[in-house]
Amino acid sequence: MSVLLLNAEEMDFNIHVIKVFNIFGLKFVFTNSLWNALCIAIAITIFCAIVGHKVRKADPLKPQKGIVGLMEVAVEFLNKTTRDTMGPQKYNFAAFYGGLIIYIMVCNLSGLLIWFVPYRDHITIDFIRPPTADIAVTLSMALITFFMTQGFAIKEKGVGKWLKALTEPVPFLTPINIIGEVANPISLSFRLMGNILAGTVIMGIYYMLVPYLAYIVSPALHFYFDIFAGVLQSYIFMMLSMIYVSGGME
């Protein structure tokens, strides 16, 4: 997951600034994790376009094989999870959460892949620093959840009932309720970022300290820190987001 297999002499977990844009007087910093996230989003879009074309051509009466069959299993799993967690009426959210979990999972697993990464003033081919190990990426996704929670709560219950729900059970506890609502996206984003960053840092330190043992022990560590934690955390992010949104609507 780390940069250390290729550049063993320097241990560098930092986010690098590629370019700074000035948009209407606001400083917009384009970092390497944004570049990775952009590349992953484009790759997922192309993959989805190809698979969508295949699905449209597939015969619905026959059992499907290959990538179409796999997608069928994935969509069924998503629909079932959404129905079980959010209830049968809010089943339409499955599409949004499908996109969310695929994006987060690919981002988490991207530390195992090699891609063109701009580094300082030149472009290197290196292991990707996972974009979800950056608080900017995870907090943006957690803020989507936060605004969805509040927005759907207002849409479902109306402004009056939404405001009244904040003052329950007694008006005295309103600040606590507001802090509780604001703490949700922070804990969501920190959980995802902390897990992935911890995996990156631990693997980097491991490769730096015992490089000669790396080929024997590292597959097990990669399995735990990258694959297990990555898949589990994307699932957890999706589940908690579902629970927050459906809890806000009730």
């Binding site: 911890a198 840092v201 589990l232 957890i236």
Partner: protein, 97 residues
């Protein structure tokens, strides 16, 4: 501040930050205990009702991940102290030239 040089002050801050990172990771105790409880109760539930193992597994993983949050916070503090220490630059801006 006359008798100490800036380098000595920075070294002191770095050393104390390393100790602080170690102490911050004591918080790993809590999530360990909590996740152990969750896993034990999950095993209990599966042995009592093997048919519901999927639901039990899902709930257990969700609870374990939520219990992990405090550990992740402490880990974040430790990583920040070791790799991206904000205190040294703050010290330099306060007492440097």
């Amino acid at each position: 501040m006359a008798e100490y040089s800036l380098e000595q002050g920075s070294a002191l801050i770095l050393g104390c930050s390393a100790i602080g990172a170690g102490i911050a990771m004591i918080a790993g105790l809590g999530p360990g205990i909590g996740q152990g409880f969750a896993a034990g109760k999950g095993a209990e539930g599966v042995s009592r009702q093997p048919a519901a193992s999927g639901d039990i597994m899902r709930t257990m993983l969700l609870g374990a991940a939520v219990a992990e949050t405090t550990g992740i916070y402490s880990l974040f503090i430790a990583i920040m102290l070791v790799f991206a220490n904000p205190l040294v630059s703050r010290y330099m801006s306060l007492f440097g030239e």
